[in-house]
């Protein structure tokens, strides 16, 4: 027996090695068991080996990627560089188109916001923001497209300016940052009124005629009040910055940061619909009746309408449609006298001193508008208005205009430029019915576009509004 075993021991061993695993397999196939200690020990050895091999293979791969595979890296990098340049150009183009798209959307949104308002889109084709001259941009729309002077120019984010000069195919837009530009605004939060005047710097304007008692803080949004007859109501103009409230004086001063980055305007909308007076004051129509002869709007460049008349009459008081109205003195003192005072001395002080408290609010409109623009002009008789307060209201009449025509481009002064008085074109911005209600109703700038020749800063200075 042992001899057999010894003789066939190898065969028996092989058979055992063959059968035993098979038996184990069949025995354990249906139920999985945990590995024995031996199994775990063997697997413990396998782990480091796998890690080591992984480290070697990974290191080899890194070596390959980092060195061997970089043999053609230079050429590849150059090709990628070129491709990158192309892609970058594409990205820039896309960015430009996206920006244009967004701007167009904003413009479209603005245009759709007021369907009754007709607008004409234009593209800026020239920029002349020369600090020595006017702040102008040229757009590719002109009179052939229905554009006219004094038409407001806006973008989706706010006011840009107004059309200053037109040619058949192009127009110059006077930006709101121009020193000759003045826009009647409201503080959106407190509804206080004021004017925004340009400073010549595209990123900075100045707030004017904001009463010291008006509620105003830095950061307040200023929107167009619509009372200047040029700009529709509610368009963002800018934000109050650098507010300075002094202990004395009638007005507070502040800087205004324009809502529109005027250096980056590319597409604009020109509002071609005449602005209607949305803020009808009580009896405003009645007040304008006496001067009903003045058209609401006179077409044609350089011939703006005369809101001034209505303003002046409104300033004269609701019950004083006529120059010799009984209430005239008190009101006239602030409205009509303001220009004169301004002519004679400092406008603010003069009016502050002369304006009766009771009329400060009601009459201050004209006072505000009148005083700043009240500059002595050659041949002016300042005392005319001052000495005869009623002449302020009489300024609504052509006859009075001669006396104060140059003394102020204020409502009364502008009124003096009624065609029948001085044959000067009347500002349409004033378009009476509304102008009379707004204290900040711009006498200057947009409303007082009396001069047909636009680029004469000297004249602008005197009129306070029209370059």
């Amino acid at each position: 027996m042992f001899g057999l075993l010894k003789r066939y021991r190898e065969l028996i061993l092989v058979a055992l090695l063959l059968v035993l695993p098979l038996g184990v397999f069949f025995a354990r196939a249906k139920r999985q068991t945990e590995g024995s200690r031996l199994d775990r020990a063997v697997l413990t050895f396998a782990g480091p080996i796998e890690k080591g091999v992984g480290w070697v293979v990974g290191g080899g791969a890194r070596v390959w990627d980092g060195y061997v595979a970089l043999r053609r890296a230079h050429e590849k990098a150059a090709a990628l560089e070129r491709e990158n340049e192309g892609l970058r150009l594409d990205a820039l183009e896309l960015q430009r188109v996206r920006g244009e798209n967004e701007r167009m959307r904003a413009l479209l949104g603005f245009a759709q916001g007021a369907p009754e308002r007709k607008v004409k889109g234009g593209r800026v084709i020239g920029v002349r923001l020369d600090p020595k001259g006017l702040q102008l941009v040229t757009i590719d729309r002109g009179s052939d497209d229905g554009l006219d002077r004094m038409m407001p120019v806006v973008v989706g984010s706010g006011v840009v300016g107004r059309v200053h000069a037109v040619t058949p195919s192009t127009s110059d837009v006077l930006l709101l940052s121009d020193r000759n530009s003045s826009i009647a605004v409201r503080v959106e939060r407190s509804r206080a009124r004021a004017n925004v005047r340009g400073t010549g710097a595209p990123d900075l304007c100045r707030l004017e005629y904001a009463l010291r008692s008006d509620d105003m803080v830095e950061g307040d949004l200023l929107t167009t009040s619509g009372t200047d007859g040029v700009f529709p109501r509610g368009l963002p103009v800018g934000k109050v910055a650098g507010l300075k409230k002094s202990g004395q004086g009638l007005y507070q001063r502040a800087d205004v940061k324009p809502a529109v980055d005027l250096t980056k305007v590319e597409e604009v909308l020109v509002i071609t619909t005449p602005e209607r007076m949305e803020e009808e004051a009580p009896l405003a129509s009645a007040r304008s009746e006496p001067v009903g002869a003045v058209p609401a709007r006179t077409p044609g460049p350089g011939a703006p309408l005369a809101p001034v008349v209505a303003k002046a009459s409104a300033a004269a008081g609701p019950t004083s449609p006529k120059p010799s109205a009984p209430k005239a003195p008190a009101v006239a003192k602030t409205s009509g006298a303001a220009p004169a005072a301004g002519t004679a001395k400092t406008p603010g002080k003069a009016s502050a001193g002369t304006a009766a408290p009771s009329t400060a609010k009601s009459a201050s409109p004209s006072a505000r508008t009148a005083m700043p623009t009240a500059k002595p002009a050659a041949g002016t008789t300042p005392s005319t208005a001052a000495a005869k307060p009623p002449t302020a209201t009489a300024a609504t009449r052509p006859a009075a205009g001669t006396a104060s025509a140059k003394s102020a481009a204020a409502p009364s002064g502008a009124a003096a430029r009624h065609p029948s008085a001085s044959a000067t074109p009347i500002s349409r911005a004033a378009s009476g019915s509304k102008g009379g209600t707004d204290p900040a109703a711009t006498p200057a700038s947009h409303s007082a576009t009396a001069k047909p020749r636009p680029r004469k800063p000297a004249a602008t200075a005197s009129t306070g509004g029209e370059p």
Binding site: L18, D39, V42, A61
Partner: protein
């Protein structure tokens, strides 16, 4: 020593294979680098040490495969016997012959694994014969790389070979 060397080499090769396949295809294809060891043992080793070595390799494969214990051990010993028979019947010489035999051996192990597993596991968890395609690919790939294992085994054999002092020395 040969069974121990086969066991150790099988352990290293399976670990290496697992690490390499992580980079090469991520498991789309598989290899059975331990099978050439069994074939080598069948061709060049004695009965006892060959059978022990094959059982050791099979044990390693069982551990690594995570399947039921004993299956691959049995199949490796069976492959050892087949290789031994093939080596006796055919003149398996050179690397190409070794590669072909290894490929067939790998397919045999794969097929046997599927058949036996199907025999003992429920139908719903039993491996399908559709896996034979993967087994075929594995066989081809293993056959292709088997000459490298052959070289390694020869080196190891050379390290362990004891020089017999001859009469002429």
């Amino acid at each position: 020593m040969r069974p121990v060397a086969a066991f150790a080499l099988a352990l290293v090769l399976t670990a290496f294979q697992a690490a390499v396949l992580r980079y090469a295809g991520g498991g789309k294809v598989s290899l059975a680098l331990a099978i050439p060891i069994v074939v080598y043992l069948g061709l060049h080793a004695g009965n006892v040490e060959g059978a022990l070595g094959s059982a050791g390799v099979g044990y390693v494969l069982d551990l690594m495969a995570g399947g039921p214990k004993g299956l691959l051990t049995f199949l490796c010993v069976a492959l050892f016997l087949l290789s031994r028979l093939s080596g006796a019947a055919l003149a398996v010489a050179g690397k190409s012959g070794f590669a072909v035999l290894t490929a067939f051996g790998t397919f045999f192990v794969g097929l046997g694994s599927i058949v036996l597993t199907r025999a003992v596991t429920p139908a719903e968890t039993a491996p399908g014969y559709g896996l034979l395609g993967r087994v075929a690919v594995e066989s081809v790939l293993t056959g292709l790389v088997s000459p490298l294992v052959l070289v390694a085994m020869r080196r190891i054999d050379g390290l362990m070979a004891r020089e017999e002092p001859g009469l002429l020395r």
